[in-house]
Structures are given as structure tokens and as C-alpha cells.
């Protein structure tokens, strides 16, 4: 036995410290190890959350009282109501996509490539627009542009005597306006990060060969960032057509019925599950097709790494042109952020919303919604609880599924990955229909409970959890885990000591990315809630439906305050420097509101 004593440590040839030598474990014992139990649990969860409800949705759409039938699809394709809803959705999506481009691209270019002043304002505008609940913007604009009571319409009619100056928000253009304010950040975020990651050397190389600045922009820069821009437009499209809140608040009074609102109306008594399922599948088909195109575009981006670091973009000196562009940015900020929030604040403080709203400002409505309206406190508790649990579960499931996909050679892991991405193509209302179909045929009574809302939220946002986990796992070299294993750490110990701590920043960003939309989720909740499982967004919508203009605004402001406080708190807990803005990589993966 050769050995050397170095200090008090004997580096000699004894048996390794404390590690028992064992034979290879049999397949049986391996199947019941922690590793396989956790992975198996995640797979089962994914099936219950996504795969089975979708299967039941499919079955529900082709299975009538007398067995197999295509009557629901026939009805969906021939009924005037349904074709009209489909057309309206497509028109809305197309206009929204176009205007998102017209708004998002100049802003992105200004921030990424010019010397325009006030860049933080633009970033703030995009982030706030992305975070604001779309139905709040809709409610604010109704208060301004409602045909009779809208403040601006009333002002131009009664004070200026110019009724033609008014604008009816309850129209397709009104709906497009309100929707675009929520969807243009998709184009902005994707385009600006692509523009930022084009290294100046590409452009300088073209210029030294004799190309002018504009020619360089046309033949070098544009082709490089085109995939990102187009994919941003498609994401705007997909998200626009899925927004239940604004389509119900703006569209229904204007008799513009879209797919989500039509599906919603099919649940009026007597509910038409089969038809709702068929319409939902049609809806899924559209969003999946658009997302497929988006991925195909994004796949071509190999030359521009989204969110890449280290690139040194070339800033263009705009001269005097920067001032009109800056004016445009301020205008966007005003319309997208300042106007709606100032309106909501004003409405919530006014005794009675109207031309003389500043007379008799009051906090009465806040008191009413917080203390007298018995729904509010329950709704806040439910929403906070659901969002916290849903975000945590989605992120942990995502971490396990991401780990299986990236670190194992498990057969079928690609299927798992796809299954976890499918909800990106599921508008909230479709998710709700699928869950109803599934759980109504199960022996467990979940309908109307908080549990089914939780299932809906986790199911809808699991793609964000998986993407967050994937992104951070890819940045963690597998040797960091392997070196723990060879030192004697089990799978579980390695996960706890090495993998999860290293993933923490990414997982936390993912957590926030799930938490915020869940707090304001309306599209799925609207079909799944009951009076005991009321959520904040549903409470606001119901209050609005009942016609309480001022208390709605107060509740909306409370909702925003909760979101802001929650984000601030969560950031503080996780430590700084995380999730300063919506993660561009995650946004790039899409997701429907």
C-alpha cells in the first residue's frame, strides 16, 4: 500500500471514504428510485393537465348522443353566427398584426439603432403595455369613447358642438385600437432584441465595400432581422384573437362577435358542449397554424441570436429627424399608458363619471369595492393564492420536464416537450372548454372549484415554465452535475444542491412570467369560476357587466397595485437583477393571453 501523508490527509489506497460498494441496482429497484418517481410524476401531471383534456375536447367535438358525428363541425362551418365569428376573429387578428408592426417596429428601431432621446420611456411603455391587463385598457377606453357617456365624445358633442369629432369605441376599429395597445410589445421586443444583436461589423463590412447607409440597412440589416419581426407579428396575431376580455367589453356592445365570445355564449343555458368543442378545435387550428409559421420563421434566425450579448450595434445619428420620432414615442406612451391609467384613476375618484367629474372627488368607491362589495376580498385572496401556487407548480414541472428533455435519453422525451408547448396554441377559453369536457366525465367533481382554475392556469402557462427551465438548463454545463455525481451525490441530492440553485435566476424569471398573467387571467376563468372560486379579473368583469362604472375603475386600480406590489416583493425575495423586463427569449416562444 503506497501512500503519502499530506498534512493530516492521507491520500492513500484505502477504500474510498464511506461509499459502499454495491452491485449495479436491478431494473426493478431503479424504477422506484426518487429519480424515476419524480420524472414519472411530472409526466403524469402533463397528461392530466394538457394531453387528456385535449383528447376529450376532440372526442367531445365528434361524439354526439348517437355516437360518432360530424354535425358539430358541419354546424360550425355553415351556421351564419359561427362563420361570422370566425371572420371577425381573422379580421381583428389581421388588423392587429399590421398595426402592431406599424407601432412596434419604429419603436424597436429607434431604441436599438438610433440616438433618439428618452429610450427608457419607450422600454417602459412596451413593458407596461405588455403587463397591463388588456380588459383594463378596454374599460378605460370605454369611459373615454363610449358612444353616449364617453368623456371625449360627450365633450366634442356637448361642449364643442362637433359631434362628428366623436369616435365610437364599440366598433371594429375601436377593438383593434384597444387590442393593439396590448400586442405591439411582441413586435417591439422581438424586433429590438434582433436589431440589437446584429453586430456592427456586418454593416461596417458592407459600408467599406461601398454600400450606403440606407442600402446597408436594406440589404444587410433587414434580411437579418426579418424573421424576428415576422414572428413578432404572428405572435401579436395569435394573442389578439385570443383575448376574451376586450372582445367581450368592446365587441359585444358593438355586435362584433368573435370566436371567444361566441364560444362563451354557447355555455348559456342549455350549454352546447359539442358545438363549443368543435369551434374550439377550429380556433386551436388557427392559432397552431400561426404559431407553426412563427416557429418556422424563427428557426431561420440562426444568424441573429435573440437576446444575445456582446454584439455592438451601430447607432445612427438621426439629426433633426429624431424629434418627430421622439414625438411619436411620446404619443404612443400617452395613448397606451398615460391615457388609460389617468382615465381609470379619474373615474375611480370621481363621484360620478362625466364632464364635471372633478367636482366632488371621493375615495368612496375604493371603500365600497374593498369593504362593502363582499366579493372583492375573496377574489383577491383567491387570485393571489392561485397565482402563487400556479406559478410555483408550473415552474417546477417545467424544470423537471426541461431536465428530462435536455439531460436524459428517455424515449419519448421529445413528445413530452411538444406536449408541454401545445398550450401556447390554446386560447384561454379553449383550455376552459377542454377542462370542462374532461372533468365533467370524471368521477371527481372539480367543476366550479378553485382546483379546476388551478389546473387551467398551470396547464396554460406550463410552456413558460418549461421554456424558462430549458433556457437556464442549457446554460448550465452538464459537467457541473456530473462532477457532483462522481463525488457520490445521488440524483436527488445533485438536483437540490447543484441544479436547482444554478437554475434559480431563470426559474424565478419564469415564475414571475407565469404569476403576472395568472393574476389577470380572464379568458379561461370566465367559464370555470363559481361564486366561491371568484377571481379578481372575473370580479372586475362582472362588476363592469353590472354597470358599476366608478367602482370598476377603483377595483381595476387595486388590481394594478396588487400586480406591482407582487412583482416588487417577488424581486426583493429573489434578489435583484432578475426579470427587469419580460424575458425576450421567453416572449419569443409565444403564449396566448
Amino acid at each position: 500500500m503506497t501512500g503519502a501523508t499530506v498534512g493530516s490527509i492521507t491520500l492513500g489506497r484505502q477504500a474510498p471514504l464511506g461509499l459502499t460498494k454495491q452491485r449495479p441496482p436491478s431494473r426493478f429497484t431503479r424504477l422506484f428510485s426518487l429519480e424515476y418517481l419524480i420524472m414519472g410524476g411530472a409526466i403524469v401531471a402533463l397528461f392530466v393537465l394538457v394531453v387528456l383534456p385535449l383528447c376529450f375536447l376532440l372526442i367531445g367535438s365528434i361524439w354526439g348522443e348517437n355516437g360518432f358525428t360530424l354535425e358539430y363541425f358541419a354546424e360550425a362551418f355553415s351556421g351564419r353566427l359561427y362563420v361570422q365569428a370566425l371572420l371577425n376573429s381573422l379580421i381583428l387578428g389581421a388588423w392587429t398584426g399590421l398595426f402592431s408592426l406599424l407601432l412596434g417596429l419604429p419603436l424597436a428601431w429607434a431604441v436599438a439603432r438610433t440616438n433618439i432621446p428618452g429610450k427608457p420611456l419607450i422600454t417602459l411603455t412596451a413593458n407596461l403595455s405588455y403587463l397591463s391587463p388588456p380588459f383594463l385598457t378596454a374599460i378605460a377606453f370605454v369611459n373615454l369613447f363610449g358612444p353616449n357617456a364617453g368623456l371625449i365624445n360627450a365633450f366634442s358633442r356637448d361642449v364643442l358642438g362637433l359631434p362628428w369629432l366623436g369616435f365610437n369605441i364599440f366598433s371594429m376599429s375601436g377593438l383593434v385600437l384597444v387590442t393593439v395597445l396590448h400586442t405591439f410589445p411582441y413586435v417591439y421586443l422581438l424586433a429590438s432584441s434582433a436589431l440589437q444583436s446584429v453586430d456592427a461589423s456586418y454593416e461596417e463590412a458592407a459600408q467599406i465595400l461601398g454600400a450606403s447607409k440606407w442600402r446597408t440597412a436594406l440589404v444587410i440589416t433587414t434580411p437579418l432581422v426579418m424573421p424576428a419581426i415576422l414572428s413578432g407579428v404572428l405572435l401579436a396575431f395569435v394573442n389578439a384573437i385570443a383575448l376574451f376580455g376586450s372582445q367581450a367589453i368592446i365587441g359585444l356592445p358593438g355586435r362584433i362577435v368573435t370566436l371567444p365570445t361566441r364560444i362563451y355564449s354557447l355555455f348559456d343555458y342549455p350549454p352546447q358542449y359539442g358545438l363549443a368543442s368543435a369551434l374550439s378545435l377550429l380556433f386551436v387550428f388557427i392559432t397552431i397554424a400561426a404559431l407553426y409559421l412563427q416557429r418556422a420563421y424563427l428557426a431561420k434566425r440562426s444568424f441573429v441570436t435573440l437576446g444575445g450579448k456582446g454584439a455592438r450595434p451601430q447607432l445612427m445619428d438621426l439629426g433633426w429627424v429624431k424629434w418627430p420620432l421622439f414625438g411619436f414615442c411620446v404619443l404612443v406612451f400617452f395613448i397606451a399608458i398615460a391615457l388609460p391609467y389617468m382615465t381609470l384613476i379619474a373615474v375611480s375618484l370621481s363621484k360620478s363619471w362625466g364632464l364635471a367629474f372633478w367636482q366632488g372627488l371621493t375615495l368612496e368607491h375604493y371603500r365600497f369595492v374593498l369593504f362593502d362589495y363582499d366579493v372583492t376580498q375573496r377574489a383577491i385572496r383567491n387570485s393571489l393564492g392561485l397565482a402563487t401556487i400556479a406559478a410555483t407548480v408550473a415552474v417546477f414541472l417545467g424544470a423537471i420536464i426541461g431536465w428530462i428533455d435536455i439531460r436524459t435519453h428517455l424515449p419519448g422525451r421529445k413528445f413530452l416537450d411538444y406536449a408541454a408547448l401545445v398550450p401556447l396554441g390554446l386560447p384561454g377559453i379553449v383550455m376552459a372548454v377542454a377542462l370542462i369536457q374532461f372533468w365533467l366525465s370524471m368521477p371527481i367533481a372539480l367543476y366550479g372549484t378553485l382546483a379546476i382554475l388551478l389546473l387551467a392556469y398551470v396547464g396554460r402557462y406550463i410552456p413558460l415554465g418549461v421554456r424558462a427551465a430549458n433556457t437556464s438548463l442549457r446554460q448550465i454545463d452538464p459537467t457541473l452535475e456530473e462532477s457532483a455525481r462522481i463525488l457520490g451525490a445521488s440524483w436527488g441530492h445533485t438536483l437540490k444542491e447543484i441544479t436547482l440553485p444554478l437554475m434559480r435566476p431563470g426559474l424565478f424569471a419564469g415564475w414571475l412570467l407565469v404569476f403576472v398573467p395568472v393574476i389577470q387571467e380572464l379568458s379561461a376563468s370566465i367559464l370555470l369560476f363559481s361564486s366561491s372560486s371568484m377571481t379578481l379579473a372575473v370580479a372586475i368583469y362582472n362588476l363592469y357587466e353590472t354597470g358599476y362604472t366608478e367602482p370598476v375603475a377603483a377595483l381595476a386600480m387595486i388590481n394594478m397595485a396588487i400586480i406591482v406590489v407582487a412583482i416588487a416583493l417577488a424581486r426583493k425575495i429573489a434578489g435583484g437583477g432578475i426579470g427587469k423586463e419580460p424575458d425576450k427569449n421567453l416572449t419569443a416562444q409565444g403564449g396566448t393571453a
Binding site: I9, L11, R13, L19, P24, T479, S483, I486, L487, G488
Partner: protein, 367 residues
């Protein structure tokens, strides 16, 4: 005690359409207490072999025994954490969220040592790798060389039987690499741990190893001491990989015993030791290392003309064109000077030549 026996080990990757053979039919018997190097160009299967030994990869065929304990076979693999081995990775894999102390203590805590024992052993390990006083630093506050030592200390502190090292020096600059090379060798001698070291750097392999396993295209080409592998390479691939070599085409004129009389193109006749499978009349290549050729200003049996001269400091390298048109690389003492265009005599030491059967596409098909 901790010898490693690898028998007919194979591993390939990929799907149905494109299968890449990483390791093919590898047989290797590694003795206890040795410094073994797996040497070869990138993609030769050396890292896969190391990962097979560590238990990260399940073999397609064959087996690995440590001592008389079966640790890997296609039907099952003892997981890495039960092998009692250590491993140092090319990128060090020092955990960025743990301090130097926590990194090194990780394996000790898993072995349920008391906190005083842990502290003592970590201190000793830090001293061993000259990192005293850096225990509370985080890895991003360390240089590459220091991180490298942390990785080393982390693997050594748990006193493994076998330490696996995957190109541990390749990310260091030349000077530090030289220094760490010396320290590694010393460490192995002092501890008696079996080191299995993967590298593509033949100089490193020669300097460090007791035995070198030269791999190419997934197959073991030669296993032997550095001296054997360098001076009597088993085949053209090994000769080519282990340093500079001139390959002069020729044919065997006569064989007596294990000595062959060889005639190179251009008329040079040599006596060289001859592998058993060769026969009179065979087309062959004669492998001659540049340092085994001497030049002289006076005429010799073989003459040539200097066509290039490169001064390299510690030696001088010439390209000499022999009468047959063969360009030979020759290394001489730097003070032995010839000028371009000069006619020189060429003296080849036949005992240092190797003969390989001629193959049209030599290097590629040697595998």
C-alpha cells in the same frame, strides 16, 4: 486492487440513420497505481472511453471491471456516485454558486464526516494544491489555474481509487500548463492513485504517462510505454500522431530473421527491423523521425540538396530533397548550419526506422 479491465467495449451514438461509432471493440488492462493516458485526435473516442469508465455512459457491448467488480455492461451500469472515482473536467466544473471551501467539502459531507474532519481535510487539500487562504472565494474570483486546482482538490479530497482527468490542462496558458503538468505527475507519484488522463497533446502524454493508449477512430492503436510508442509505433497512424515523421516509399529486397533489407525510392538501401507479416517484394513505407536523420557537409552514400531552413531556437529544421525527389524533414543541432541550395550527405540511423505496409490512402484507412 484497483486495476481496470476493459473488454470488447463498444459504444455508438445517433439514431437509425446515422450511427457514429465512438468506441469500437476496446480491450485495455490498466494496472493499479499507474498514470495512464488516453491519447488521440479529437473524435477518436478517448473522452467517450473516460465517460464509460466513470459510468456516465452505458456501453453497447463489452464490460468494465474495477478489480474483480463488474461496473459496466450493456445490461447495467453502477451509477457514478457509487464508483468511488474522482473526475476532473476540461472546463473544471467548479460550482459557481459555492465557495472554494464548499466545493471541496461537498464530497466529504456526503460521506458523513464530522465537521472538524471536513475542515481538516479541506485545509489539507487546499495546501496540497497551493490554494491556502482562498477558501472563502467564489470561483468567479479565481483564475483559470486556480479553478483547475479547486477541481483537482475536490476530486482528491475524497481519496478515490481512480482519478479520471479529461483534458484538464487544455484551457490553461502554456506556462501554467507546464507547471501543472509537473504537479500532476508528482501528485500521482505521491498518492499512488491510478490516474486516467485524456489528452490530444502528445507531448503532454509523453511527459506524464507510465503507459499511453493511442486511440484513433474509436479503436485502440497501441498501448505501451511512452518510449515504445514513440520509437516503435505499431502503425502509421501512431507514428504520424506521436510527432513528426518522414514516410519514404520503398520495397523490401530481402529478409533475414527479423531484419529486412529495404530499398527506398531513389536508391538508398537500409537495414531495418521487420514486422513478421512482411515479405520480400512488398511495397512499404519507411518511417523516419526528423531527429534520426543527420546531415553532413561531406558526401555520404545518400546525398541531397537543402531546400528550406527554419531556425527554431533549440534546433534547426531543414527540408532536404533526396535524389528520388523525396523531401525529408531533418532536425539538427542549431549550431550545425547548412544553407539553402547546399549539397549535403544524409545519414539515417536504420535502427530507428519503422516499416509499414503501403496503403494508398494511408492515414484514413489505417483505422
Amino acid at each position: 486492487m484497483a486495476g481496470i479491465t476493459i473488454s470488447s467495449l463498444s459504444k455508438s451514438y445517433g439514431g437509425r440513420h446515422l450511427r457514429l461509432t465512438a468506441v469500437q471493440d476496446l480491450n485495455l488492462s490498466i494496472q493499479d497505481n499507474q498514470f495512464i493516458t488516453l491519447l488521440g485526435p479529437s473524435g477518436c473516442g478517448k473522452t467517450t472511453t473516460l465517460r464509460l469508465i466513470a459510468g456516465y455512459v452505458t456501453p453497447d457491448t463489452g464490460s468494465i471491471h474495477v478489480g474483480d467488480r463488474l461496473v459496466s455492461s450493456p445490461s447495467g451500469v453502477v451509477s457514478p456516485e457509487r464508483r468511488g472515482m474522482g473526475m476532473v473536467f476540461q472546463n473544471y466544473a467548479v460550482w459557481p454558486h459555492k465557495t472554494v471551501y464548499e466545493n471541496i467539502a461537498f464530497g466529504l459531507k456526503l460521506r458523513k464526516l464530522s465537521s472538524t474532519q471536513v475542515r481538516d481535510k479541506v485545509e489539507a487539500a487546499l495546501a496540497l494544491v497551493n490554494l491556502k487562504g482562498l477558501a472563502e472565494r467564489f470561483p468567479n474570483e479565481l483564475s483559470g489555474g486556480q479553478q483547475q486546482r479547486v477541481a483537482l482538490a475536490r476530486s482528491l479530497v475524497v481519496e478515490p481509487d481512480i482519478l479520471l482527468l479529461d483534458e484538464p490542462l487544455s484551457n490553461l496558458d502554456a506556462k501554467l500548463r507546464e507547471k501543472m503538468r509537473g504537479e500532476l505527475k508528482q501528485l500521482q507519484r505521491r498518492t499512488g492513485i491510478t490516474f486516467i488522463y485524456v489528452t490530444h497533446d502528445q507531448a503532454e502524454a509523453l511527459a506524464l504517462s507510465d503507459q499511453i493508449a493511442v486511440m484513433h477512430a474509436g479503436r485502440l492503436q497501441q498501448f505501451g510505454s511512452p518510449f515504445d510508442v514513440y520509437t516503435t509505433p505499431a502503425n502509421r497512424v501512431v507514428a504520424d500522431f506521436m510527432g513528426l515523421v518522414n514516410l519514404v516509399p520503398g520495397r523490401i529486397r530481402a529478409i533475414s530473421g527479423n531484419t529486412a533489407q529495404v530499398e527506398a525510392d531513389g536508391g538508398l538501401v537500409l537495414l531495418a527491423s521487420c514486422p513478421a507479416e512482411m515479405a520480400v517484394g512488398m511495397e512499404i513505407d519507411i518511417a523516419i523521425r526528423p531527429e534520426n536523420i543527420r546531415l553532413s557537409a561531406t558526401p555520404e552514400a545518400l546525398a541531397g540538396v537543402v531546400s528550406e531552413r527554419t531556425f527554431l531556437g533549440n534546433l534547426c529544421e531543414y527540408v532536404v530533397v533526396a535524389p528520388g525527389g523525396q523531401a525529408l524533414r531533418v532536425q539538427t543541432h542549431p549550431l550545425q548550419q547548412f544553407s539553402v541550395g547546399q549539397s549535403v550527405g544524409i545519414i539515417i540511423d536504420p535502427s530507428q526506422c519503422s516499416l509499414f505496409a503501403r496503403e494508398p490512402d494511408a492515414v484514413a484507412s489505417a483505422a
